[in-house]
């Protein structure tokens, strides 16, 4: 077992395992989909990535200058920290599998198998990306992730979900194409398909920037972020939960692995963290609040990738790890409410603490963890990133004080939009007469496990610190850290309740950049319809209906016209009145139309023509 798993891609455990799912009876299936990611977890644990792997595939060597495809990332012996890259991959591998196990416990009640198949392939391909050692393998799993996640959205099986899934796949295909173009250019210029860190100082090129752009689509960076709050809340109860963990975090992993120290990411991350808060404050749908909150949280990690120091990379990894746990917990709490009530808008929810107290308690633990309250996992992970920004700012990068300030302000804002707003509007606020039952046992079990992890990693983070790519020399529990964090959070809470009247929810949606392709698409259609089709109509009116019939009638009637013009003086000389001349002319035209002139007239005209020619020739002589 251990020898098998020491060299086996964990992605295949899930992807191959997914094929069996539809053939299993329902009872067995629910256990099977829990066991599968657990097996993948064991697989990740036993992986020995010391360079001896049979998963270096030579199939495309003609394309890659003889380099093998690396399905399993190994140590890079020449590098300064040979283990860092694969420890990073392993850390993400652990949390991807762990989260999947608990998500499937939550999903125990799901009857249909389609969503499970799509979800397992989706999670498997996220693992594939995490362990990919070269750009081509990365790309293949990246696209597989996009396609399978679309099916997870479609599994809700409603018209809205279909439309949303369509927009989702269009954006991700765009991102995939950017990535592919970048990969092709990068392979061309570097002469290697290896995927390891790109250096900001020396390796900026069209290729690396395009790859970065492709990754940023998946990381939900505005203005390319709107796909996330558009699609995740349209997925099913379980679908939204599973989607929330993988696409953005795989992008974060890729940034940490490939783009550590790319300075623009610092500011991109800062923008994301504030953007997520502002939109989450405006939102009415509880699951959309959580979706915007993902953008806010990923902002911290993207910023850390931009800072790029060892502490920042480790901090971002720890934050991603803890974030997946507490964000899943929040999606579960929201999912349990949606499951029991069938509503997800703050304007329709409230007062649920009376009948769903356990869901409230677990959801609140998640809310406290995302807010980095001391004693929870957010406090022991997110603060490493802020600490890293502080450290760099104090050591020569003065502009980072701004990044640090924005991250601290965003930390306060997290408490506002996710820490208090979510539990308050769903479980307290106004009693709307909803008296649902408490969530089912399997859901409560899943939430209890995640709640335990939130607190355990908040109290004892060392096991997490041990699996980070670089050693962390950071202690969250100093008097200074705890006091300053509590000041920040308590005053944020005060602001929330002081401004509560301004935060009252309205049954509205907020325009995001998806306006550009949702309304903009319609406008573009109308504009092209108006402009091009009016040219078309004018052309039809002028040329097809006007000019061509006239031209055709000109050619059919011209000989008769000329003839009538010539013979009118003759008719006048004959003393015919106007009515008779009119009659003769009509006869002439009728004959011309039918081509039926009497042969005599033709002969006479022939003689006239010859006479005319004779006169011409006589003069010409």
């Amino acid at each position: 077992m251990t020898t098998l798993f020491s060299d086996f891609p964990p992605a295949f455990v899930l992807i191959l395992g997914a094929i069996l799912v539809p053939f299993l009876p329902k009872k067995i299936r629910s256990f099977y989909v829990i066991a599968l990611p657990a097996l993948a977890f064991v697989n990740v644990y036993y992986l020995q990535l010391d360079g001896n792997t049979k998963w270096n595939l030579d199939v495309f060597s003609w394309l890659t200058n003889g380099e093998p495809l690396e399905l399993l990332r190994t140590e890079s012996p020449g590098a300064e920290n040979p283990e860092a890259g694969y420890k990073l991959a392993k850390a993400f591998g652990y949390i991807f599998c762990l989260n999947a196990v608990i998500a499937f416990i939550f999903a125990f009640y799901v009857k249909k198998s389609t969503q499970h198949v799509a979800a397992l392939i989706y999670i498997g391909s996220a693992l594939g990306v995490a362990f990919a050692g070269d750009l081509l393998t990365l790309y293949v799993f990246w696209e597989l992730m996009a396609v399978s996640s679309t099916f997870v959205i479609l599994a809700r099986n409603t018209e809205k979900a279909k439309r949303s899934a369509y927009r989702y796949i269009m954006i991700h295909l765009l991102g995939g194409l950017l990535l592919l173009a970048g990969i092709v250019l990068t392979i061309q210029s570097r002469g290697s398909i290896q995927f390891d860190g790109f250096d900001f100082a020396t390796e900026q090129s069209a290729g690396t920037w395009l790859i970065l752009l492709g990754i940023l689509v998946n990381a939900a960076v505005p203005p390319l972020a709107a796909w996330l709050p558009d699609s995740y809340p349209e997925a099913s109860v379980t679908g939204g939960l599973i989607l929330s963990a993988y696409t953005t975090k795989t992008a974060v992993y890729t940034l940490l692995q490939g783009y550590a120290g790319w300075e623009p990411l610092i500011w991109i991350g800062c923008i994301m963290s504030v953007y997520g808060i502002i939109y989450a404050l405006l939102e009415n749908d509880m699951r959309r609040i959580l979706a915007y909150s993902i953008i806010n949280q990923v902002g911290f990690m993207v910023c850390a990738a931009g800072i790029g120091t060892h502490d920042a990379i480790s901090g971002a990894t720890a934050h991603a790890f803890c974030h997946i746990i507490y964000k899943s917990l929040l999606w579960m709490a929201a999912g349990a409410v949606l499951y029991r009530v069938g509503k997800s808008k703050c304007t329709e929810l409230g007062g649920l603490y009376k009948t769903m107290p356990l869901t409230l308690i677990f959801g609140t633990i998640g809310a406290l963890a995302i807010s980095a309250v001391p004693g929870t996992s957010g406090f022991t992970s997110k603060t490493i990133i802020i600490h890293a920004a502080e450290h760099e700012a104090a050591h020569g990068h003065a502009s980072l004080w701004w990044a640090w300030l924005i991250l601290e302000a965003a930390s306060a804002g997290v408490f506002l939009h996710a820490g208090i707003k979510f539990p308050y509007f769903v479980f307290f606020n106004k009693d709307r007469g909803l008296r649902p039952k408490e969530a089912p046992g399997t859901m409560l079990t899943a939430m209890a496990i995640l709640s335990f992890l939130c607190i355990y990693l908040g109290v004892n983070p060392q096991p997490l610190y041990d699996i980070l790519p670089y050693g962390v020399n950071y202690n969250a529990y100093t008097a200074g850290h705890v006091i300053t964090q509590m000041q920040l959070l308590m005053l944020s809470a005060l602001v929330f309740f002081l401004f509560l009247p301004m935060l009252k929810r309205t049954s509205t949606i907020s325009l995001d950049f998806d306006w550009l392709y949702r309304k903009g698409g319609q406008l573009f259609y109308k504009a092209t319809d108006k402009s091009l089709n009016s040219v078309n109509a004018a052309t039809r009116k002028g040329v097809v209906d006007g000019f061509i019939p006239r031209l055709s009638s000109f050619f059919t009637t011209a000989p008769s016209r000329i003839l009538s013009w010539l013979v009118t003086p003759v008719w006048l000389a004959q003393g015919l009145n106007s009515a008779e001349r009119e009659k003769r002319r009509d006869q002439l035209f009728e004959r011309g139309r039918r081509g039926a002139f009497p042969i005599g007239i033709t002969a006479i005209l022939g003689v006239v023509l010859l006479g005319v020619l004779y006169v011409f020739s006589w003069f010409a002589r």
Binding site: L281, A412, A479, M490, T508, L511
Partner: protein, 112 residues
């Protein structure tokens, strides 16, 4: 499910009572004040960031983080409120269909 059941004890509604809300407000304000007060001994002993590897220089101001939290949150709420004027639209703005069915993986008791 309904609360008309005679045998069930009186419903737990502690958070709805005006008295409890008043108490919670007081607790919150007390927590804010305490978070200020506990900083004083740390400031006196210059221990506030003693275990951090760096000196914070200009940010060693009493209550700096409290003010930061207050100002940042106020600004963000005002910003959201201001942007809301331009960004908020009716729910049918995009002409999406009203949801005709609930998600399939939902409690059987729930009706639309």
């Amino acid at each position: 499910m309904e609360n008309g059941d005679d045998k069930s004890p009186r419903e737990f509604d502690w958070f709805d009572r005006p008295k409890s809300r008043k108490l919670l407000w007081r607790l919150l304000i007390a927590a804010c004040i305490i978070s200020f007060l506990v900083e004083i001994p740390a400031l006196i002993s210059h221990d506030r960031h003693a275990t951090a590897p760096i000196d914070f220089g200009k940010f060693n101001i009493p209550g700096f983080y409290a003010v930061l939290g207050f100002v940042a949150c106020t600004l963000m709420i005002l910003a959201a409120k201001g942007l809301g004027i331009f960004l908020k639209r009716k729910e049918d703005y995009y002409g999406e269909p009203e949801e005709e069915t609930l998600p399939e993986d939902i409690d059987d008791d729930v009706v639309l």
